[in-house]
Amino acid sequence: MKKSILQGATKQGMHRADSNSATRVRPDRGSPPSIPRWVKVLAIIALVLFLLFMILRFTVIPYIHSLSGHTGFGGQTPLTSVIAYGGHQV
């Protein structure tokens, strides 16, 4: 009995909501939200940074290493390399 009253009330409410939505007062209320602009901007920035990183990693950095002959920039051995190899120049 209680359940049928409740179901009836809910159905009536839903019907009213449907008839309200037919008036299109707030058309977006029933549809899922779209992706916010800040998420799109952040995604584009992340994609650009990732592509830049990949380009640097696979093209520019190996090229610089090959130019300097594994001795760091400008042909000089970085001190970190000297220390890592026990004080011997590599």
Binding site: M1, K2, I5, L6, G8, A9, T10, G13, P32, P33, I35, P36, W38, V39, L42, F53, G72, P78, L79, T80, S81, V82, I83, A84
Partner: protein
């Protein structure tokens, strides 16, 4: 399952402390990496490398995992959820990505790669990502995911049904029957 407000605040405090600690440790690491790369003083470079290694193993790696864990606790056991709001989801993705890159870097730390300009590049990138995550946490920009929207609708429907049931009970207690409204 949601935490009590007191527990929620405690979990959030722990998460903020650990995340800010991670950010600070990365900034310190960046300073050491730049010093070791640019300095001409051999003593500075000699001192920087063990400091970098210690910072990575004893501060950055534990804090990264702890930040991920506390972030999961703070989101999953509160009404924010993990997949309901874009800002929470983006923060989670940043955290996971940062941990993966950190583990990759740690693997290369024993080789030369860990001591060259890659340290500066890695820590600069990490700093940028962590700053974005911090800004997101503070501003909490709007935006609900489809999943969050669906969940919210379900919850609202439940609340309306509960209220309707309460009203029906109240009418029945006062001797008013549903037939009166028909």
């Amino acid at each position: 399952m949601n935490m009590t407000p007191c527990l929620r605040k405690f979990a959030l405090t722990v998460h903020v402390i650990i995340s800010v600690g991670w950010l600070g440790a990365v900034a310190g690491f960046l300073a050491l990496a730049i010093a070791s790369l640019a300095s001409k003083d051999i003593a500075t470079v000699r001192a920087a490398y063990p400091a970098m290694e210690l910072t990575v193993w004893w501060v950055i790696v534990p804090f990264a995992f702890a930040s991920l864990l506390t972030g999961l606790v703070s989101s999953l056991f509160t009404p924010w959820g993990l997949f309901r709001y874009y800002w929470v989801l983006v923060k989670f993705l940043i955290n996971v990505f940062a941990v993966i890159v950190l583990l990759e870097y740690v693997r290369s730390l024993n080789s030369m790669a860990g001591m060259t300009g890659e340290s500066v590049a890695h820590s600069s990138g990490a700093l940028l990502f962590l700053l974005v995550a911090t800004v997101l946490s503070v501003y909490k920009p709007r935006g609900m995911t489809r999943y969050g929207w669906r969940k919210q609708r379900e919850q609202r429907k439940d609340v309306i049904e509960d209220k309707a049931q309460e009203i029906v009970h109240e009418f029945e207690d006062n001797g008013v029957h549903a037939a009166t409204f028909k």
